[in-house]
């Protein structure tokens, strides 16, 4: 397995819309393994393929504190959503920023699992929030899109400045 590079806002590749996975094969399972490794190392609780510059409808999550609840969702679709959850969200592609975002508190989602089998599950709480956050990535959308224009620009400028400084140090 290998750790992958995570794209960072405002990288335009984060805006690409992902296309459906047509075959769950060994190459895809290799990518899934790499994505888990990348997510755990970050540390994160969810990662969409878009964030590692693979534009397929695939995401991984694990909201447990001890790596005991890994989920793989391929070609996910939300069937139902209700309730409200307010969460201070952060994103591995927007490092160091946390802002409150409102999402559905409960969702029913259909997807293919690691074996390519269709599955449905009902989730609530942090996992429901996380799946919605990752599914946004597959549409080219980021959590900062829910913030005010001024706030989003401030974060963008700050991240660009951090990267320029990092480049000088290296």
């Amino acid at each position: 397995m290998a750790k992958l590079k995570i794209l960072e806002f405002p990288d335009p590749r984060l805006r690409k819309k992902a296309s459906p996975v047509d075959a769950v094969d060994d190459a895809l399972r290799q990518l899934i393994g790499d994505m888990f490794e990348t997510m755990y190392a970050a540390p994160g609780i969810g990662l969409a393929a878009t964030q590692v510059d693979v534009h397929k409808r695939l995401l991984v999550t694990d909201v447990s504190p001890d790596k005991t609840e890994p989920h793989v969702l391929i070609n996910p679709e939300i069937l139902e959503k209700d309730g409200v959850a307010l969460t201070d969200e952060g994103c591995l592609s927007v490092p160091g920023y946390y802002e409150e975002v409102e999402r559905a508190g409960h969702i029913r989602v259909r997807f293919l699992d690691r074996a390519g089998e269709p599955q449905e599950m009902e989730v609530e709480g942090l996992l429901a929030v996380c799946i919605q956050h990752e599914m946004d990535h597959l549409e080219g959308k980021l959590f900062v899109d829910y913030l005010s224009e001024a706030k989003r620009q401030r974060i963008r400028k700050k991240l660009e400045k951090d990267r320029r400084q990092a480049a000088i140090v290296m």
């Binding site: 970050a42 540390p43 994160g44 609780i45 969810g46 999550t61 909201v63 447990s64 504190p65 969460t87 201070d88 969200e89 952060g90 994103c91 591995l92 490092p95 160091g96 920023y97 946390y98 709480g125 942090l126 929030v129 996380c130 956050h133 990752e134 959590f143 700050k158």
Partner: protein, 441 residues
């Protein structure tokens, strides 16, 4: 999505800061932050806040060496975050790189982005210079207690002082009280075993069960039905002691949150007539909830135990349990914020208040009846000094020093009058007990 780790650390830092700079209790401060943290992350938030307060003085000394210019008053929460960060590096299994990056991110989550660099530099320097390996150079940072508390423990317990300080800094186990009217403690332990929960018995408290690992109460078999309650084994000595003489009319003074009165009623069955008094109307509500869950009934009164003329109906009691308001110096392992919230002067003021309540309640006891004086303190000024002074001034009071037969005497320290359980002894909290009998004239 990024881990909630930064949010959790920010919330822990806010709670620690509320205790350190605003004198709020840790339970209240954690409750303030709970809604912003996902349920799966709340145990981590608690663990970090408890740890940072348990080790407050040692962490404060390190922070003093790492931060060249003191933080501004309005940035005190970043000082608390540094304590949370250093605690993770020296006393948890959280990998160092995760602890550093999430704590630095938490600086931004606390809306102090300009200080993220400082937090990052401090945590990295702490690791690089291995400050954790350096010996503490003063009492406070060595023992993680304020000097006045160390001095008082040395004076009151010259031979046991260090053992008490160590016990105060250890994590406390979760003790349960099996409801004796439903099942024995051994039977309840079998129910736990069937649910996959490991446990052990107590040497002194027949109804007590110690869990191998803390559990959520919702996961305890029969909790909602009142088959079991959460209560330290030392606190469970009180009701058994008082009920040994089979009283029919009992007063529980300073009863909230109702653990001991629930135990009295479990042991007494329907025949026991219990009056529970507490001064705090909000906490009296907790007594009601506890009694309701246990399915027991008592007369519950909001009133000042030192002014019985305001609430007493004039009928004497066969037995009185006086669980006196105290410094709680015996339960520091469960409430590390006590080390920061109490002041030296509090202890003497509490001693005067305890004596006032004892004097006020004594006439409510029938001749031949017994009063059990209890504190969760280890200080003589709140314990044998109060009871000794009372015995000297009251000819109709005498100590009944006979311990209940099931008690393991080795765990109870005999004082000039009364007995002390020291924190950590038998894995229990620190409690003081003195049983006083009113002479028949």
């Amino acid at each position: 999505m990024a881990s909630q780790g930064a949010r959790v650390r920010a919330a822990a830092a806010e709670a620690v800061d509320a205790v350190v700079t605003r004198g709020r209790s840790l339970d209240d401060a954690l409750a303030d932050g709970t809604s912003r943290v996902a349920p799966e992350d709340r145990p981590t938030m608690r663990m970090l806040a408890f740890g940072a307060l348990r080790h407050h003085w040692r962490l404060r000394a390190w922070i003093g060496r790492l931060v060249s210019r003191p933080l501004k008053r309005r940035d005190s929460v970043v000082g608390a975050l540094l304590a949370v960060g250093l605690y993770q590096l020296c006393d948890t299994r959280i990998p160092d790189h995760a602890a550093v990056s999430l704590t630095v991110d938490a600086t931004r989550a606390l809306r102090r982005p300009k200080l993220a660099g400082l937090v990052n530099a401090c945590l990295r320097r702490f690791r690089r210079e291995n400050l954790a390996a350096q010996a503490a150079d003063d009492d406070e940072s060595r023992w993680n207690h304020p000097q006045w508390l160390i001095d008082r423990l040395r004076r009151d317990w010259p031979d046991d002082c260090e053992a008490i300080l160590d016990a105060n800094n250890a994590r406390a186990p979760m003790w349960l009280r099996s409801n004796a009217s439903r099942q024995s403690a051994a039977e309840y332990r079998r129910r736990l075993a069937r649910a996959g929960i490991g446990s052990g018995p107590s040497d002194v408290a027949p109804d007590a069960v110690r869990l191998d690992e803390p559990q959520l109460v919702a996961d305890l078999p029969g909790f909602a039905d009142g088959d079991v309650s959460v209560q330290d084994a030392a606190a469970q000595l009180a009701a058994r002691w008082l009920m040994a003489s089979v009283p029919s009319r009992v007063l529980d003074a300073c009863a909230a949150p109702g653990g001991k009165s629930g135990h009295l009623l479990e042991l007494g069955g329907g025949a026991l007539e219990l009056t529970a008094v507490d001064i705090d109307a909000g906490r009296v509500q907790r007594v009601r909830e506890n009694h309701e869950r246990l399915g027991v009934d008592a007369t519950i009164v909001v009133g000042d135990a030192s002014k019985p003329e305001e609430w007493w109906d004039g009928r004497p009691f066969d037995a009185i349990l006086l669980d006196a308001p105290c410094s709680a110096s015996g339960v520091i392992r469960r409430h590390p914020d006590i080390k920061l919230l109490r002041r030296a002067g509090d202890v003497d003021a509490l001693g005067a208040r305890q004596a006032a309540i004892l004097n006020a309640l004594w006439p409510l006891l029938v001749p031949g009846g017994r009063l059990l004086y209890v504190t969760c303190s280890v200080f003589a000024a709140e314990n044998d000094a109060v009871v000794g002074g009372f015995l000297e001034a009251n000819d109709d009071a005498v100590e009944d020093a006979v311990l209940p037969s099931y008690n393991n005497r080795d765990l109870m320290r005999r004082k000039a009058c009364g007995y002390q359980v020291l924190p950590g002894t038998g894995d229990m909290d620190g409690f003081y007990y003195a049983c006083l009998a009113r002479k028949v004239s």
